[in-house]
Symmetry: C2
Subunit: 360 residues, 2 copies
C-alpha cells in the first residue's frame, strides 16, 4: 500500500501512527475484548477514554479551569445557530466579522435569531484581505463578537486576535484549531468541527467560558443548549464515542510531537515552502495579502486554467490527491493541516516546479 498525500480541505489526512493504533485495537481495546465502538458511553472503559481525551486537550491548549470543554455532534454549522441561541443572554444583537464564505454562513444563520451587526466585511476584495481592527464598526452593546480566524476557501487567516475588551470573542476555529498556540482566555467561546485538525468528521469541540452559559433562549433545542451538555459532561445523550476516542489519540500524538509550539514551527515551514514556490513563479499565483495568508489552506491558480486537469492528473501520479480548488475560487488548493507531513509539501513543490518547467 502507498499512502497518499491528501490535500483535502476536510475531512483530511490523519497522522499515520494514530490510524495504526486505531487499527491495532479496533476489535480489542486495551485487552477488554471489545471495540471502543461497542462500549457503553457510561461504562468505566469509555469514561476513562473520554476523560483522558479532555485532560489531554486541556493540557495541549492550556485551557483555563473556568472553561467547559464540550464534545458535541452536528459540525460547526450547528454552532452557527447554537451560538446566538445561547450567548445572546437577553441582548438584541451580536457583532460579526465577514471574512469569507464560512463567516457569511454564520451570519446568515445568526440573522434568524438576532440583529447582526457586520463590523467588517472584506467581500469587496473577494475575501483576499482583512480590514484593520481599528476600522471595525464595533457595537459596545453586542452580546458577543464572532469571527472566523481561518477561512478555508479563500485561504485567509488572522495573524492576530481581535481585542474586544468586555465583549466576548467567539471564534470558529474549525480549520486552524491546534495549528498554533492560542491564549484561550482571550476568547469567550471557541468551536471547531473535528475533521481538519482534531480527528474524524462527526465530532465538534466547543470550549466556552462558564459564565456565558445557562441563559439560553426558550426556543433552544435541548441538544443545542450548552448548559445541558456542560452539566452532563457531554453525555446528555450518547455522544459520538469513536470520534471522541480518535480525537484523544490525536491529542496524545500532538503531545508527542512537542505540542502546539512545535506544530506552529512545522506549519510555518510547510506554508512558507508552498508560498515561496508560488511567489517565485510567474506561472502560479495566490491573490491573498501576504500578511493574511493562511498557514492551513493554500489556494493557487495556474497561469493557464486549461492546464488544471493536466496538473491534477500529474499530481495524482505522484500520490498527491484532492488538490482541486473550491469551485468559487477555481485553480488548486493545498490544505496542509497538522497531519500533512513536511515530505508531502516537499513532493508537491517539486511536482509544481517540474510541471511549470514542462508547461509553463
Amino acid at each position: 500500500m502507498t499512502r497518499k498525500y491528501n490535500f483535502s480541505a476536510g475531512p483530511a489526512m490523519l497522522p499515520q501512527p494514530v490510524l495504526e493504533q486505531a487499527q491495532a485495537e479496533l476489535l480489542d481495546w486495551n485487552g477488554t475484548g471489545q471495540s471502543v465502538m461497542e462500549m457503553s458511553h457510561r461504562g468505566k472503559e469509555f469514561m476513562s477514554i473520554a476523560e483522558t481525551a479532555e485532560a489531554d486537550l486541556r493540557e495541549v491548549m492550556n485551557i483555563p479551569d473556568n472553561y467547559k470543554v464540550l464534545f458535541l455532534q452536528g459540525g460547526a454549522t450547528s454552532q452557527f445557530a447554537a451560538i446566538p441561541l445561547n450567548l445572546l443572554r437577553g441582548k438584541e444583537g451580536a457583532d460579526y466579522v465577514n471574512t469569507g464564505i464560512w463567516s457569511t454562513k454564520a451570519i446568515t444563520e445568526a440573522s434568524r435569531y438576532c440583529l447582526v451587526n457586520v463590523v467588517s466585511n472584506s467581500e469587496s476584495s473577494h475575501f483576499t484581505s482583512i480590514q484593520n481592527y481599528e476600522e471595525w464598526n464595533i457595537n459596545p452593546d453586542a452580546a458577543y463578537l464572532h469571527y472566523t480566524p481561518n477561512e478555508t476557501i479563500a485561504g485567509v487567516e488572522f495573524p492576530w486576535v481581535p481585542d474586544t475588551g468586555e465583549i466576548p470573542l467567539v471564534a470558529d476555529m474549525s480549520s486552524n484549531i491546534l495549528s498554533r498556540p492560542v491564549d484561550v482566555s482571550e476568547f469567550g467561546l471557541i468551536y471547531a468541527g473535528a475533521q481538519k485538525n482534531i480527528g474524524p468528521a462527526g465530532l465538534t469541540i466547543v470550549i466556552v467560558r462558564e459564565d456565558l452559559i445557562g441563559d439560553a433562549m426558550d426556543i433552544t433545542p435541548t441538544m443545542l443548549n450548552y448548559d445541558v451538555h456542560a452539566k452532563n459532561g457531554s453525555m446528555y445523550n450518547t455522544p459520538s464515542t469513536y470520534a471522541w476516542y480518535l480525537a484523544g489519540l490525536i491529542f496524545k500524538w500532538l503531545k508527542q510531537q512537542g505540542g502546539l509550539e512545535q506544530m506552529e514551527i512545522l506549519n510555518r515551514r510547510k506554508a512558507a515552502m508552498l508560498y515561496d514556490c508560488i511567489d517565485n513563479s510567474d506561472f502560479y499565483s495566490n491573490p491573498v495579502d501576504k500578511e493574511y495568508r493562511s498557514l492551513m489552506n493554500v489556494p493557487f491558480t495556474l497561469a493557464n486554467s486549461e492546464l488544471n486537469e493536466k496538473f491534477l492528473t500529474e499530481a495524482a501520479t505522484r500520490d498527491l490527491v484532492y488538490l482541486k480548488g473550491h469551485k468559487s475560487v477555481g485553480g488548486m488548493r493545498a490544505s496542509i493541516y497538522n497531519a500533512m507531513p513536511e515530505q508531502g509539501v516537499i513532493e508537491l513543490v517539486d511536482m509544481m516546479k517540474s510541471f511549470e518547467t514542462k508547461y509553463g
Copy 2:
C-alpha cells in the same frame, strides 16, 4: 483475544465480520491509499460509499421511493426537537404515546414547541404494558402521532403498528430498527440513533415521507431542517463519514444474513430462550406483559437483590458483560440486538441456570 458478549443497551456489539473488514481497510480503503476517515465527503470515493449504503438500506427495509433517507448527527434526542419543528406544518399540536422513559423525553421536548396530547400513558403500570389502541384518545387534528415502538429501559415493545389513518405516524425506532421487517409505508417518519442496530454512535437515520417536509417552523435551526438535508443528500455540511461507512458495512452484513426476515427469526429465538429461562424459574422475574415483551431488551430481577453484584461478577468470568440493569428498574438487563450471536444468549442462559442452582 477473547471477544466479550456485550449486553449493553447501546452503544452495543457490532458484528465481528464488520469490525474485521473495518480493521483490514482502516488505512487503505479499496486500494485508494486513504482511510475512509480521511476522504473528502464530496470526493467520488466517499460518494460511492454513501450512495451504496443508502441503496442497501433501502433494499433491506424496502423503503418506497417517496421517502427520503437522511444520514444525520445528534442522536434521537435531536429528533425530539426536529420532529415538531418540521412536522407541525401550521397545526397547533401533536399526539404522543407515553410507554416509557424515551417517550417521556420526546414528549417533554415537543411540549416546548407545541400542544402535546398524550393519547395513552402506561406510567401507572410502571411501563410494563401498553394500552389497547381502541382506548387511545386520538385528536383527529393532530399534526402527527409519535410513539416509541421499543422502550429500552422497561423492555416493552409494540407487537403491532398503530393504524392512525390520515395522521402521519412517527416512530422512534432507535432500539428496534432492522430487527424485523416493517412496512415503511405505514409511517410518516421513522428515526433511529445508530448505536444499537445500525452502527456506531454518532449517526442518526431519518426516513421521512417527502410530502411531510418543506414547511419547517421559522425558528428551526438549519441543521434540524429535514428539507435542507433532503435537498443536499445529507451533505449540507460534513456528515459523520466514518459512521456512515460502518453503517453501510452493517447493511451489507444484514443482506448476507438473509435480511430482516432472518433477523426476526433469530431475534425471536434469542428472546424466547431468555424469557423461557426467566419464566421457568422462581429466582428470576420480568414484570412485563407477555404480549408486550421486547425482543431487544430483556430486563430481569433476581429474587434477592443482594446477589446482584455476585451475578455480575460471575457473568464477567464467563465473558458476559454490561448486564447491569438501568438504575430506574434495577436488577439486570440483557440487550440482545442483531449483532448479539445466538451463542451469547445460550451462554447467558447457561450461566443464569447455574447461578440459580448455586444461590437460588
